[in-house]
Symmetry: D2
Subunit: 349 residues, 4 copies
């Protein structure tokens, strides 16, 4: 039987299913109190623990103890991104793959409410941790929801986010790091952008039907050349378009800068809103389900010079230039943004 | 490290990932023209082929040729439910598992635009087909979308559904069929309802982060006792709550009966709308993303007598009694509904 | 020129435009603290003053000081409904019309933040007040919005209502009171329901393009026969459908009973949600703009026995019986609901 | 009693209520077929008549025969804006006021389905017509809706607009024309923008609780200096935010240029989407209810240099420069846009 696609038995390689989900991410903030105000009062997150210079926060549909760790640092940026494997043995298999690649990580006892953890740095300088064992959230009696698929009552503060959705890392060499993530962790390429010289400018990757749990974006500012692990943004999920309008309204009322949106990306079909939390990190709010990829033989969507505009914006206004340059930390020669000067930077788009 | 959940290395069994997605379903209709009108004019689906007494239809985000086959029959109901495996070899493994279970299916060349197919009947009398190879949709030039992750332009007719979401089958013995689906196809139990006698009344199962691609609902009318494969409903996905209101509006304007909704199930957190297509089959429209299950060690949510009301309705009005009795075909002693008498049945709730 | 409607110059009588808007309403509650919790934590209203046994609350788009006064009483119910005229002289003209009708009210200095007020009782026993002069809201500096058409920042608590929308009063004789409201205050009939005996069962009236600032509903429980001014419901406005889903979610999480909805009335095309505030009064949340009446020669929409179902529900589930019987206070022989027994009543619908 | 606002009896002048509503507007198009495709296939409007070089279209919640007249002309732009008075005698009073102002219009028998009409040109060169008598829409039997407040079934094509909302006219001298509209037609100023030199740059005016049925925008291109009646945009109403996203999606799919949005104006709190119909005219879609003005003593909201950004955009991306320059017809020295060159102009924002 002739088929449209090359679905033939011979060429297809079964992917591994060892990496399963994004668990938590860490943000560095020079202004922890203001950062916490943002995540708690506007995004409705719940504080579950303070320890040293860190505060742990959860979204109300997080099944585990937390999905965000905010840590004081003089410069904003991101720390460990924590992933859960699909089985205990899968963790061992992935560690083995990483070490066979030539990257040497290390085991520790794990962060708060997380079990034995293997941590390593990817080819672009970003810190990742893998684990199987972790603590599920145990709500206090007053916070137990009658909706059994909801681990905590929906908060009455702010416009509460439901869960952590994805991380977007700035990198110097997209292809090298994407292939590392593919070969060691099993991330499949879902969409990417390739420039006129054939250079891969951005890649969106996932281990689930989501279009991405992680994206790698080529750093056009040059600041990622030394592998310092710059964050482009961290994204939390709403699922409902109205909530982006609701949050945007609260942001303007409360002096939180909106960088762009609500709008619609071509890539991932995301209804997006980008804001800067007071510590200086870019946060995306994801306002719908986007599309889900169920095809086991998915051919990556590749955007090129001729349709990159559509990739970036399906409808809505163009993104400001800084979207493509600003990341955290931001200590390069082009100092696009500091926590104390959020507004000044974004005006001359 | 002590953990809340029993995530220990010893007890966890890695699931297989061989079944990957729901591809298409077949509806029988005694009034094919009216059924097509409903799917094309109100749900915005596109006709891709007519062959014998069947018509093939697609939603605009279906990657393969079609997701719905409408076939003339004197009685409404459902035919084959078609599933794609995650790899060519996975197909062989699943066929082997089915036959080891003691059910003997058969291979054929496949339906229109589908490759070699193994078909069998589950323990409750429902017809399933497994395949790997199939044709991707090739839109005519005028229907190509600039949104590369969209296989066809969004239609301008009706409130267009995006893709087939799940099937809900009436069965006589939920547990037996659920275990069959688990042991042979790898479906994981996500949520279920257990009555006061410990009998499983309903089960929602998936092979992806969706809460279900298939549900089995205990047939309270007794009509499934002889394993005739009654359909409770077929569900198509919107992802946006407003579209349920938009479609409900069009249904009332055009004489299509709404059984219930828009409302919110506790189970699967679905924003739902149930309508009867003119052929008599119940169709669900799914108006948001619900919640997605990323936990690899998910403990099924079990609803019992004391909270079954919450399972059925999180908020919104109670479902009418017929929701729990009517299925297609409906030729038992309690003739709840006929295509010509849709309205009379639902009134005395 | 022949016209469809009888828009001829001779028959048209210009309405007066003297009554202009609904300003505030008063609720009685036997459990003021719980009632305040509901309005402040879930509906996001702001407390502006406590005085004696009353608390004054405002929605964030109220231009005047407040729109809701909650007063302790042993029985729930409603007090004064306050209206503003379109001009100072218009107040005198309306007082004159009321007294010419044969109803004698009285002047006082006005409630908190309201100027000289004329109060009277309509033919059904409901208390109304008319005024021109009142205080505009002066937000504290921290609550000033940069959105100049918004008198106060949008709150971050609950799902904040924007303004008071309408009152719905139970009456014994709809026609008599409707004609009184028309002849004295200038309310125009927008929609009504007439039963098989030609008796008017309900009337929706307004002085603006809104379909109603006031509705009169025939009390089928018989409790309004002695003119005790029973409240059917008070309605607050959101304008966005999603907010009804958001509030419904919070209500279920927090034990606030939802009577019906979200759903869509035929009358006024309202997207509605009905809940009971803890004091026992029914509160409606209005989730869209409905439709606006701009036709100066509007012919009232009359629903009759044959289409009253469509009037009540355009789509969504039928309303429970109690919707047509329960009002506050509720001290008649049919004791449908008490503040301490909210849940028991609504179950056997 | 001291009051915040100067609501005293002495200073308040009662406005007249003689002008009541916007009835219809006329668009000129050099490409009528494409323009009709846009309004019928994407905006779901219904054609009710063709006569000479004009086609009459209606939105499904228009009570009168039509709200849009599309007429062939070599250059795009706008013709008559038709208003209905609140009473027959009110028409005479307004004609008298216009003529007392020194502008001399003329009576004719009226356009299709409209009665005796008085037409005149405002101080900025825009053509207006006043009438009382007109034909109500009589739907064919198949188009009658069971929703009695809906004059026609909701269409199944496109994302159907509900009614005409407002017109926005470019003028050379905002204040002069605003005062003319106030003194003759009774338009009340709701919001305006005043520049650093005290010059009024824009004014939004209404005769109803809507923030505007008409706006006058100072023409920064200089093309309105000779009083040629340039159109900035015509706006149709949805009331639901999702519909802006739905229409934007269809516009991108079908090559209709989106100028800006969906976004949120500060002025009028409008959720907006601006697109260019194929004839070259700018069309706004209004995606929510905005806010309604019920205060009879409304103090106009005045935006100045320091907050004009907030007036234009409350949240969302800045408008492109062309938004402030392009109008129709566009035959000045700066030829911003031609029907055949829609895309080229808007890129270098």
């Amino acid at each position: 039987m002739p088929t449209v696609n090359d679905n033939n038995y011979d060429s297809f390689v079964e992917p591994n299913h060892d990496l399963h989900q994004l668990v938590s991410a860490e943000l560095f903030s020079p202004t922890v109190d203001e950062t916490l105000w943002f995540f708690k009062e506007l995004l409705g997150m719940t504080e579950v623990r303070r320890e040293g210079e860190s505060v742990y926060l959860r979204a109300f549909e997080d099944w585990y103890s937390y999905s965000l760790k905010v840590t004081y640092r003089q410069s904003c940026g991101t720390g460990r991104t924590v992933w859960r494997t699909s089985a205990p043995a899968a963790l061992d298999r992935r560690v083995d793959a990483i070490e066979r690649y030539g990257i040497k990580g290390s085991w520790d006892d794990g962060d708060f409410a997380q079990g034995p953890t293997y941590s390593f740095t990817d080819t672009a300088g970003h810190h990742h941790s893998l684990l199987w064992d972790l603590d599920y959230y145990r709500p206090p009696e007053s916070q137990k929801s009658d909706l059994l698929s909801r681990p905590q009552k929906r908060p009455t503060r702010g416009i509460p986010v439901r869960r952590l959705d994805h991380v977007n890392h700035l990198v110097d060499d997209v292809t090298t790091n994407r292939e590392f993530l593919r070969d060691t962790l099993g991330f499949r390429l879902r969409e990417n952008i390739v420039d006129r010289n054939g250079r891969e400018g951005a890649a969106w990757m996932s281990v689930s039907p989501l279009v991405h749990e992680i994206a790698n974006l080529g750093d056009q500012s040059g600041q990622s050349a030394n592998g310092n692990g710059r964050l482009h943004h961290l994204a939390f999920w709403y699922g409902y378009p109205q909530h982006l309008d609701d949050l945007a309204d609260l942001c303007v009322e409360n002096g939180v800068e909106i960088e762009a949106g609500p709008g619609k990306h071509g890539v991932s079909q995301a209804k997006f809103l980008y804001v800067f939390e007071p510590g200086g990190n870019r946060i995306e709010l994801f306002g719908d389900a986007g599309y889900l990829i169920f095809d086991p033989n998915w051919k990556p969507v590749t955007w090129t010079e001729e349709n990159v505009d559509t990739a970036v914006i399906w409808y809505g206004s163009p993104l400001p230039t800084e979207y493509f340059l600003y990341g955290t930390p931001n200590n390069g020669p082009t100092n696009y943004r500091t926590p104390n000067d959020l507004m000044a930077i974004s005006r001359p788009r």
